[in-house]
Symmetry: C2
Subunit: 453 residues, 2 copies
């Protein structure tokens, strides 16, 4: 459904709600894909959204809608939902989706709900919840078809027919007597094999797999690199404990990209929220701005200290001051360019933390080219716009040095963060901008001081 | 394979190359996944990479390696490759990958190669190349299994068995006599159906599909929203012309996320390149910095104009100047936060261009909260650090106003761009930073002028 489609659906639903035409509403919802209903809920006001959710025709649909809901939107939604209704919905939801959903609830409510679910479901979900957030163990599903390697192709097809409710079966994982992963075959390989061949003769033995503790970003990289539809998850003794399907991987890729971008701008990635209150939004952004504020105060004192050095040539200082925005601004922008290139390169594996010096060497040359270009332009502009043209030349030199340094800083900081296993995206924007403000002001006035006083 | 694995592989390969142990090299390459070889090539120096590529054991492996290579790295690689060798490799490559690859070559070379390929392959590839870049038509494959709706389940299974070389078969698309898409069924549905049922009784009629002209970002959104493994592509008369598989969609999502981030930082997304020359890298970044430079020059003249207003109180102007970095910097950072939130929201469909006023209202309140907080802090710092405390109070007021305005600008610009169908990510970072530099300097000195002169 496209934007126009959602608009029409929203109008229809709102009209039906106003008229209390619940029978008709029920019919419309039955014909709408759960993913579309989930998106629709975020477009409606809170009361209508709740009303629509309560009128979903079946608990299976409600379960699908809940698993498709944006996590940030969902948590508010769940807090209001009656426990019994929620338990009813969770009873038909896949383990991994249930775990994902319960992870957002307060500890007490989570325990209450786990106590009310069926014993088997509770056990599986608790097991998933035991793995830390962001690991393969947390996003895998434990509900998959597994076949012993001695089974014949014909019997395996019977197993597939019986396993109708299992998570999307297209790869079939084959294990030995102890449950250790020993091979994989696609449903297509199975269908095309002679009836009595044992699976171990058809299967591929060289299986791409991950460990329960593997980071979800690494899982996403592997699935994407090897063009997989699913990846098996094993524990430390190679026991097959779950699978991760490509649709969950797509969610990881989207989340991580959004997170990186928001983190870089200093908004603490995960907390930011399109639906939550203004106050929460501001709170998430406040701390990262603090770095910038501190930097600004330092820059202020640096400039203040230099200004006293110009006390006998205060007019020159006043002209220099007019150059501060352009010198700092250009440095900041070049630094942010370098930063984005490196952060993205690290995330996609095109750059790694071992190549710090090579990357710095490359970026410093780029910075030199850009710095010389804009330095000359600034010197010319300085001569044209200020009466004291030599101040422009000084500013041009300072900007050139500043831009080279900004490129190096923008490269160095994320790489050094990666080296120390710190997420290079975290609020790197404000940190870079601030470092460059301080360093830029110092260099600018230092050069001016040496050449002009 | 992880980072450590690649390092070991690289060392092994380099050692074998130094010793000219090509037989051994051949064996190692045969055991390595093409995607891993592709990644390895980007780690080696140019000569070794070419050497490894020339020693790939089979043309099928070479084809897979080429399709897994980063497009930016690949184009340089292809230019050096002998035409006959390339044609040989392309002859075993899927249509969509061949089209993708040829699109990067100069027109003349592309035509030469198309002329040397088999007639059928040439036709299919030329058809794909006729669709504009970034559309569904360009990334689809035309090599897929299609079944008539009157076929029985049993016969359909026979067709699947025969179609071993077609692109991953897990969804089977069913068409009517004219080739119009009429339904879909999964391989699993087929396997579990009674032998003599015609496909039209088993298939799902409500197929999620896209048009050849649909934007690839929209394709990615649909595949991700509905958790699909593939999506069929139809032309204007609903004829089934291709399919897009989830692995290609993952590439699109990764590319678009990287592009957005790089564009926002002002590096013209697609052109930036982890392997190309420093000069090309600088050239891609230079134009976007120009916006920033112009802004800086305007800010310079604004401050210059005000400074003459302070001519009788030049000492006050000097103190004010020390506040420029903190006032501009904080505005820039808040604006970038708003910008990132909106650009990401637009990309993921959580924000749309119809809600401009709602988003601006929300962001301006966030800006107010942040502005008041840091405005008060700046006023206090001003009193502590400068001898003339009232200048600090003026700066605090100016920063508060500036931060509110920056939030609004950071929200407004991408939304208005989206409204006019301009990509909101394009170089928005430098534009925002610059607008805020100019507006910030004007507001700051205007408030100072009114209150202090």
């Amino acid at each position: 459904m496209n934007e126009r489609g959602y608009q029409l659906l929203q109008e229809t639903i709102e009209r039906l709600l106003r008229r209390n035409a619940y029978l008709h509403l029920n019919k419309v919802l039955k014909k709408t894909h759960p993913a579309d209903i989930a998106h629709l809920l975020t477009l409606l006001n809170e009361r209508s959204a709740r009303n629509v959710f309560e009128h979903l025709p079946e608990k299976e649909i409600a379960a699908n809608v809940l698993s498709e809901l944006e996590p940030v939107f969902r948590s508010g939604f769940l807090q209001e939902l009656e426990v019994n209704r929620l338990v009813e919905i969770l009873s038909v939801m896949a383990d991994d989706d249930t775990a994902d959903l319960l992870a957002d609830l307060p500890e007490e409510r989570r325990q209450e709900i786990l106590g009310l679910l069926s014993a088997e479901h509770t056990e599986d979900v608790s097991e998933l919840l035991a793995y830390p957030e962001g690991t393969a163990g947390r996003i895998m599903t434990t509900d998959f078809l597994v076949l012993p390697k001695t089974l014949s192709a014909q019997n395996a097809i019977q197993e597939v027919r019986k396993a109708a409710e299992k998570e999307m079966v297209f790869y079939l994982y084959v294990t030995d007597e102890e449950g250790r992963l020993s091979g994989v075959l696609s449903l297509r390989q199975l269908v095309t094999a002679p009836d009595y061949t044992p699976l171990e003769k058809i299967m591929t033995q060289d299986v791409v797999k991950v460990n329960v503790t593997t980071d979800q970003e690494e899982v996403a990289r592997m699935v994407s690199r090897y063009n997989l539809l699913a990846i098996p998850v094993v524990d430390h003794s190679n026991l097959l404990v779950g699978i991760i399907t490509v649709d969950d991987v797509i969610d990881v890729i989207r989340e991580e990209a959004a997170e990186d971008m928001l983190k870089m701008a200093g908004t603490s990635g995960e907390e930011i929220n399109y639906y939550s209150s203004v106050w929460k939004n501001a709170k998430a952004r406040l701390p990262w701005l603090f770095a910038s504020w501190i930097g600004g105060i330092i820059a202020m004192n640096v400039i203040g200290a230099f200004s006293s050095g110009f006390s006998n040539r205060i007019a020159v200082f006043a002209i220099l001051a007019t150059f501060i925005p352009v010198v700092n601004g250009m440095g900041g922008n070049v630094g942010t360019q370098s930063l984005s290139i490196i952060v993205r390169g690290l995330a996609t594996g095109r750059v790694d933390s071992k190549s710090i010096w090579r990357e710095i060497f490359r970026e410093s040359r780029v910075g030199l080219l850009l710095g010389v270009t804009y330095g000359i332009l600034l010197a010319l502009a300085g001569i044209v716009f200020t009466r004291e043209g030599y101040v422009g030349v000084v500013a041009g030199i300072a900007m050139c040095v500043n831009m080279i340094l900004a490129s190096v800083l923008g490269t160095f900081l994320p790489l050094i963060a990666a080296k120390f296993k710190i997420d290079p995206a975290v609020a790197s924007g404000p940190f870079i901008a601030t470092s460059i403000d301080v360093v830029g002001a110092t260099i600018f006035f230092l050069i001016a001081y040496v050449l002009l006083v």
